[in-house]
Symmetry: C2
Subunit: 411 residues, 2 copies
């Protein structure tokens, strides 16, 4: 089945916002077994919406639109889709009730414009908007489908997960089951090489690898008549993948590394503190992005200057002078000092050369040391990122800190 | 002049990467006075590339493509564009020399595939790729233009800034001059309202406002026969804007707030430290994203727990018990304690309720206090974001900290 995605919104054509809806929908549609052929974007212009929907339906079985359903835009997107699909708009009472309930919950008055949002095509399968006022819908004609959803990402993704995905799945006699594995410490090409025969031989389940900012994902999907069959096929493939690259996999459920680490720490009631130099607070910021982490995260000391390392963490002046701030010795003294001041169960430290400046003859940009103190364990990991991008080096250092905790404390 | 942007790359259709090229090009083209009418994305498929280029040229005067020029994709994008524009590919010696020089610089051998990259349309204006091997080019037919650029964002943006922008400007007899102003502390609708008469009356210079994550941008552009005329018109408008909303504007050159603050601190040789609670290290991470900031940034203490606030910063237990961790008193004691331990010229602190949990009867999610100690000044700012998004509250708190330094230390 071929699919196209049409984003409607003048703000996209101005470059005011990044089109994350299309990324999300592309992933989901690919997972559901669709071939996404085209992405289109047009402004809030009915003629161009109509033109592109017609064009996309020539090639594709499914066209998903986002945006153009807001109260101030009247119902022109809906009207245009009706023209293309041979239907007409009608007021649906149950939709109106949902919209009224939404405004009641907000405690805001409903305007005439809002009432217009209850207009939907007479033959449509309507999707209620749990996060806003504009409903979405699906409309079929001659075996081809147009699905219209609101543009705000939160509204769109909730509607897709809750209503559109089950709808698309119900259209197929087959059931799709997939798992998304995440790995750290192995490059995408290395991962592919080790799984090449499985990837080459794939029919069902399918395997696909993705790379993203120092991490890899591996999607394993199966499409069968029966859910338990699909699950068994996926689990069987996961076992094979595990034999080859299991040591790098940190999640079998598409969880981010920082989520995995914080969840496990919270489950086990282990407290955490960090001492950062080159990452400059990124570790603490990533950890404290997780709601509820205050139960286990005590403090993060960003000791950027040598003075701060000595005063806050008790790193010895001799160590800094003899081995330098970027050294195994300094990393370990940072973690040990952090243990003294915080008393946290898990103390992690990092010092490195993020670049672009700061390199010496013996210490290149991208050299990073990570220290860890946990119980009796005192460990240090040396990394050479081989890259001169400050952003990349800081991001990779952050992931390495999390990986080191995951392997040495939580495995 | 109407423009369309065509992104070529199967990885975009899989949702593996976010299309940032289109955002960048949309902004630039709008600034240059083009109306961007369509965004299209297709995979690495010559027929669909040709189909969309032909389609886009029906409506538009300019089509910009990105991607599809890599060495492994042969020259199919180029071939397709030649077919549409009635030209043929030829080997250009000067392009070959540039590609050879690129590989020599990298110390890597050149393959036959790379040599193919020197094939360009015979009538093309060629743009050398300073960051990669694939050249770009512009091709004209009957007053309509197709411009092809490589897909990797760094290659594309460098080529656009260095070559394509001057080329587009040279096609016009007029010169475009613009300034991008950035503001904090005023909402986009409030900004628009205060400037409404100027926006409504605009012919040249033009005014446009944009909102982004708690900040606003204001673009003022003028298109004239003469650069000095355009500059004078823009400067004159800036003066009018300044009279209305000058107090909110922190940059007249599209600099981010964190860049403005760090640049000024570095220029003045003022040292900085931070003590964070609800932002959890975001401030330190943002500041240390700036290369060279180690000259002035001493330390950042993320005192997440009450113990950390007392031990690291000397916040009094009575203060925490009487007023709570989220209070003016605690924010000030954090900044004062930070001054004692760091001795930095500028000491900033933050404590608040980021959400989603943590609210009490008197302290709602989104309540944030920022403390500042600078010389004899001891200041505290109370913020009520009115939002329950953790991400937003943390981001807004970060910007408020920077704004407080900018206003009270650097103005």
């Amino acid at each position: 089945m071929k699919a196209a995605i049409l984003s409607i919104g003048t703000e996209l054509l101005f470059g005011q916002i990044t089109n994350t809806n299309t990324v999300y929908l592309s992933r989901r549609l690919n997972m559901l077994g669709y071939d996404v052929m085209y992405h289109y974007t047009v402004g809030d212009n009915p003629d161009r919406v109509k033109e592109i929907v017609e064009l996309a339906l020539e090639d594709c079985d499914l066209v998903i639109t986002t945006g153009g359903l807001g109260p101030t835009q009247d119902d022109l997107t809906k009207e245009m889709v009706c023209q293309v699909m041979g239907d007409e708009l009608v007021m649906m009472d149950e939709v109106m009730e949902e919209i009224s309930a939404y405004f009641e919950k907000l405690g805001r008055p409903m305007t005439d414009n809002n009432r217009k949002q209850a207009l939907v095509p007479s033959r449509a399968k309507v999707f209620i908007n749990g996060e806003g006022s504009a409903p979405g819908f699906a409309l079929e004609k001659d075996g081809k489908y147009v699905i219209c959803m609101p543009g705000p990402p939160r509204e769109m993704t909730c509607m897709f997960e809750d209503s559109v995905m089950p709808y698309l799945q119900s259209m197929s006699e087959d059931v799709i089951y997939y798992r998304m594995l995440r790995a750290f410490g192995i490059g995408e090409s290395d991962l592919e090489t080790r799984l090449m025969d499985l990837i080459d031989a794939q029919t069902d389940p399918t395997l696909a690898t993705y790379a993203k900012e120092g991490e890899c994902s591996l999607r394993i999907a199966s499409k069968r008549r029966d859910l338990s069959e699909a699950k068994a096929a996926v689990d069987d493939m996961i076992e094979k993948v595990d034999e080859r690259v299991g040591e790098y996999i940190y999640s079998y459920d598409d969880e981010e590394l920082v989520q995995v680490v914080c969840r496990k720490l919270m489950e086990r009631g282990l407290t955490l503190s960090s001492a950062e130099s080159c990452t400059g607070g990124r570790f603490a910021a990533a950890v404290t992005d997780i709601p509820g982490v205050s139960a286990i995260f005590d403090r993060g000391l960003v000791t950027y200057s040598n003075e701060a390392k000595m005063e806050e963490l008790g790193v010895k002046r001799e160590t800094l002078e003899k081995y330098g701030a970027v050294s195994e010795q300094t990393a370990l003294e940072m973690a040990e000092g952090l243990k003294r001041v915080s008393g946290s169960d898990v103390c992690v430290s990092v010092t490195g050369i993020a670049g672009p400046g700061g390199a010496t003859d013996t210490k290149p940009v991208g050299l990073v040391y990570i220290g860890l103190v946990y119980g009796d364990k005192k460990l240090c990991r040396r990394i050479q990122t081989g890259d001169d991008s400050r952003q990349w080096n800081r991001q990779y250092s952050l992931l390495s800190m999390l990986d080191m905790i995951n392997r040495n404390v939580l495995s």
